[in-house]
Symmetry: C2
Subunit: 389 residues, 2 copies
């Protein structure tokens, strides 16, 4: 168990409070990170339907998993084993039969089919098919969007969670050092990722690493104009820039970091862009303190870009913590002009500047924690352009 039973109890109590505020009696949580947060369950079984069920009047959540994955659930669920509900393999890959057919039966068996049921409507693995099953199968229930209520409970971290993120940060440093050392002209991109991945899993002697919820992003050359490209077997080219975005992971907690390496002599425009980017990031970071909002941070960040007449459309940060593919963002805090979400102590986020200039780009980022009076960086790592001439 990664956390005390008390901590899991606190999480559940906070989620129930939010459910009550929203008028939700029963929550169906399909978000993989939420399931982990609620039950401790951690396995790559999220490619099939699974969920945690929270009823406001029950002392424990239920965990609904595929029969083949029951073994893992029994090993990891922090709650009573009788609250693991296993569905048979006959529901797998046999449309129109579907695991949610069994879920609907369970809901009916327990007399919950007339309740107000909260759904994670835009959660990655809560498919349209699952939703339609519920709409058709529970005609007397009131189905409503839970609006990421579990994610919002995750928004403020416990000190125990912060410790795991600090461990993840040590792994991020190992991986980024490896990346910067390894990326050289003539080296295949995939080979560099091989070294980076090795560093991410070896982690440190105290903290072994895990798979990241986003692959190592490694746009290079013209690809730096796009932020989500991954490595190919092409070789790094002298004179070109490469962006590295990765996250060390410890017990599913992520500490992302993005940096830019330039092989050979740097063009002045790239040096200038990187300098302006770091100035903007620092200006934004300085606005971090409890009571300030995402908008405050964004305004400061963009004020620097405006000064240099740099245009940037994309947002510049999001909350982080537990992550599973395809995303390490928590879908709560959004560092963007107009987002009035308030910062609070132990809010953690990835402040990232993806800067695109037509056919090229640069990036830098900081994973940070809001402290009582300001902020601290999880990772102490230079954010200048790494020029390898």
């Amino acid at each position: 168990m990664n956390f005390s039973k008390t901590e899991y109890g606190n999480r559940l109590a906070n989620i129930k409070r939010s459910m009550q505020e929203k008028g939700i009696d029963l929550l169906i949580s399909q978000d993989t990170s939420n399931i982990n947060y609620i039950t401790g369950y951690d396995a790559w079984s999220f490619y099939y339907a699974q969920c945690a069920l929270i009823h406001v009047d029950l002392d424990e959540p239920l965990l609904f998993v595929r029969e083949q994955d029951a073994g893992g659930a029994f090993l990891q669920n922090v709650w009573s084993q009788e609250n693991i509900l296993v569905y048979n393999e006959k529901y797998i890959h046999t449309w129109p039969t579907h695991p949610y057919d069994r879920l609907i039966e369970i809901i009916k068996e327990r007399g919950w089919d007339k309740l107000s049921i909260g759904l994670e409507m835009d959660s990655h693995y809560f498919t349209a098919y699952s939703y339609k099953k519920l709409v058709d199968g529970l005609p007397e229930a009131t189905l409503k969007d839970a609006e990421r209520c579990v994610n919002w409970v995750r928004y403020i971290k416990s000190d125990a969670e912060i410790d795991l993120m600090k461990a993840a940060s040590l792994i991020s440093v190992e991986a980024m050092n490896t990346a910067i050392e390894t990326i050289n002209p003539g080296i295949r991109q995939c080979d560099a990722v091989g070294e980076i991945q090795k560093a991410m899993f070896y982690g440190t002697s105290d903290f072994g690493g895990e798979y990241s919820s986003i692959a190592t992003l490694l746009p290079t050359g013209k690809g730096t104009s796009a932020s989500h490209l991954t490595a190919t077997q092409e070789r790094f080219v002298k004179g070109e820039a490469t962006i590295i975005e990765l996250a060390g992971v410890y017990k599913r907690y992520h500490a992302p970091i993005a940096r830019t390496v330039l092989l050979g002599k740097a063009e002045q425009k790239k040096i200038d862009a990187m300098k302006a980017t770091n100035e903007a990031l620092n200006e934004g970071l300085d606005a971090i303190k409890p009571g300030n909002t995402a908008n405050d941070v964004a305004q400061k960040f963009w004020s620097v870009l405006d000064k240099y007449e740099i245009k940037k459309e994309s947002r510049t940060g999001y909350s982080i913590g537990i992550g599973y593919p395809p995303d390490w963002g928590e879908h709560t805090l959004n560092i963007y002009k107009g987002d009035m979400t308030e910062l609070q102590p132990n809010v953690t986020f990835h402040m990232i500047a993806v800067m695109q200039f037509g056919s090229w780009g640069v990036e830098a980022s900081h994973s940070v924690r809001v402290t009582d009076k300001g902020f601290e960086k999880f990772i102490d790592f230079p954010s200048d352009l790494f020029i390898k001439d």
Copy 2:
């Protein structure tokens, strides 16, 4: 471009034919693998809404992506650049605003809002929220499940695709050899995965590897009773078994393989279980030929298990090819009793036996191609229990 323009044209023609059979005028394909198959686009941008649109009367598909990812789309889309439709960042993380709001506008602008529109209802990233946007935003359209029609076109591979899977297989061999060498008593699980990942990305001198759409699965000890557990920082223990499931990947094509290693003296029951498993796999494989069905293969496989009075609930195979997280299965062929899908030349699948016996388990698998008269294995690798005494 990984394939000729002719091949992409053939794919599109086949998909349109299937759409017409199903009475679909416009297909919204959100499945990441399908998008890659249709357009060539390959980036880790699938954590936000994106899709390919195919209209039966248009010569080219449209690609709908986030503005931040437009650079990657312009580099990779094999069709005309004007058919890339970019949505603004204001739709990102600003519920109830949503990228599908823009998609609905586009559909209306083109006068497509009264058509019969096919949706990939149970595709991982086609969320309930996206679906509800379409239901509410296109009241005059007829929305229907496309029933994996693109996946079914992918079911039969071209020879060019088979070549990529053969390249992926060479990478699988490197990775599995590394796994079996590295897993030893006292070694941390995460460190073994570090070596495995390195091997997967280095691949061979001709074929550099890529990230796999499922993390290296590495259940060990009691964990072998569950099939989807990943590595921790705990150390391998003498006397315990470890299951390794991984896939070499080349240009997004996967060649999965599962094997079981036992450290120390093997208990006879595990040797016997592995032997029976391999006998069942071989019996199933021998039933592979064009005209036979998934059911034929499954019946043969289970007949051996029945002989040994071994019970197994879970299916024993699925089609493979392109993969993105969270899955490398194609969601078409299902090797399970009662699945009457017919095998045809160049159908490719992962025949896998996940064998669970209460507190322990073993696994083995073969990635295979259906040939004109039978089958061939992609990977030539012993499937016995690897006993390291």
